[in-house]
Symmetry: C2
Subunit: 362 residues, 2 copies
Amino acid sequence: MGRVTIGDVARRARVSPAAVSAAFNDPAQLSKTTVSRILATALRLGYAPNPHARALLSRRVGVLGVLFPQAVSTVFANPFFSAFLEGVGEITDERAVGLLTVSPAHGSLARAIAAAPVDGFVIVGLDEAHDEVAPLRRRGVPFVIVDGDSEVASSVNVDDEAGAYQAARFLLGQGHGDVLVLGFHMPPADLHQPRGVAGRRLAGYRRAFAEANVPLAEDSVVRTPVSLNGGDEALEKVLSRGRRPSALLAVSDIMALGAMRAARRNGLRVPEDLAVIGFDDIPLATASHPTLSTVHQPIREKGRVATRLLLRELDDSGPREQIVLPTELVLRETTSTGKAPLRREKGGSYRGRRTLTRAAAG
Amino acid sequence: MGRVTIGDVARRARVSPAAVSAAFNDPAQLSKTTVSRILATALRLGYAPNPHARALLSRRVGVLGVLFPQAVSTVFANPFFSAFLEGVGEITDERAVGLLTVSPAHGSLARAIAAAPVDGFVIVGLDEAHDEVAPLRRRGVPFVIVDGDSEVASSVNVDDEAGAYQAARFLLGQGHGDVLVLGFHMPPADLHQPRGVAGRRLAGYRRAFAEANVPLAEDSVVRTPVSLNGGDEALEKVLSRGRRPSALLAVSDIMALGAMRAARRNGLRVPEDLAVIGFDDIPLATASHPTLSTVHQPIREKGRVATRLLLRELDDSGPREQIVLPTELVLRETTSTGKAPLRREKGGSYRGRRTLTRAAAG
DNA sequence: CTGTTAGCGCTTTCAT
DNA sequence: ATGAAAGCGCTAACAG
């Protein structure tokens, strides 16, 4: 029952620990017979190398961390993150490395980060400058930022502003007067100056409203958690106050889907009574009924790109890059007016890659 | 840039490495002034303890592994797993431990398992006797089996057979003659004797068919991947062959949702032309339109229970348990006939807990 | 209260 | 082709 160590195997096989190590890692340098004898005893004794000891020495664990700004349980409730993790998983699977999800949770994020046995981090939704990121830098653990600002670290973002702008402009162009906006729930401190993704999407909406000369009243922007229930309850509350918006912009598809459930429950038909445009284009957007119009962003691709960037940095200490992926308005049934054919409209630009030379980070 | 170690801090602070260690882990045993001096130098130098060294000594990393039988990218494509991970995450967050997902992937599962820096494993969809589980036992890493058979390890399952039976019986009771079954895609070897969840759900369906004296033809059971597209393509193919089933039983909600998409595309109305019952009761089942009738299983609860069981085993070396959670047929709109009120039917039983005494397991 | 000593389990020179 | 010895970074005993 007590864990069997390399020493135990060595003793039983009448060789040195070094020989056992070699038998596992570089069999060529041992004679065939010793190797097989060692392997046999190892098997018989049920020996498995201790990953921690190995990692301590090799400075490699074969694990990539993914850092979320929210509790793990909330993260998995949002298909956006699932899709993102699919992308990450494609690469980690291919490279046979594990995937460690870390989140703020009960204890402090800082502690969790500091203690995480990983070779590198993909950080989602946090700016490089964020306090939580400091311990990583301290530990000298390489990281890539996703959906957040960065100057020196590599990062992957999408053109949120342009996508949001397209969505709002389309709705306004249809003549909708009362548009309800479902935004990200956020700490009060950030409310008047939302940063990152939340800020960019809202800014896109606002630009369209401004251009169309339609005022966007403060009570038309409802902050709500990124979940089915979040969207559902947000619309429910608005409807219960007697307001009847004719269109809805949601910063996330899952919110939009939740809102549609509330709409249906309240006897509103989509899109006739309520036009809806989401954001993300999660796989379910095409499986809902009616199918969801939304701002497409390449979610899986985002995960793949970020992971490759990180892995490359780990392997080659390659250069840092800031990447911005395009967004695109996809019109489906929740905005269809009569029998008009569905349209696709090119959204954000692919700004190309700015490659930075290695900076004095970390 | 070179990582700073405890020794560096000790030297600069003019104390011993042990003092530095104490300053971090048990400040009480040091004088206040020394502690703050040490902490200050640590901060200045950018010191962070090395998790591997720490784990090597303490035999604790603060990470729980979750082992899936499929590639990570497939796993995250199935909301069932997301919901399960939500449950797991609730507990790991609470206890401030990380969550490492490991999957077969490119490299061998065995290697991945052996090398994973975790304190314990939640194993999903693999029997205790499975070959892949051996290395764990060898390493002496505690684990809990979910959705799989086990004799000595703790396990969490639901009453698949009973749930499936209820679903099939209901459909058959409605007089459906041509029922299509969407089953789990599986390796050819297992086809004629499916094990575990796949076997139990199919067995439940079969029992209902047998009782109703309706033959279940082999070509009425279509094996398909557990995903939106899997279900979509499966039904598409059947329809394209000219067959028009009046009802569909899917072993997974996500398949059912995919099939509904295919049905809609082919002009079939649900439930009028095609009644549908899924399995799992993922959150989306209530957000789809029409809402999905399904066999409810407490997915998040399953994740929570399994994780608590594992944690308890790690902490107390507590006793092993085999737990079976109940299932329940939930009738929603995809089986509604006319205006009949929705029904709930109690399904599987909560068999209670068999508590095993500690067995001689690795 | 603080410092010294001795490993945790493994790999890696460097001899043999 | 094989073994001995040193040490990765940290902490747990013990002494001082």
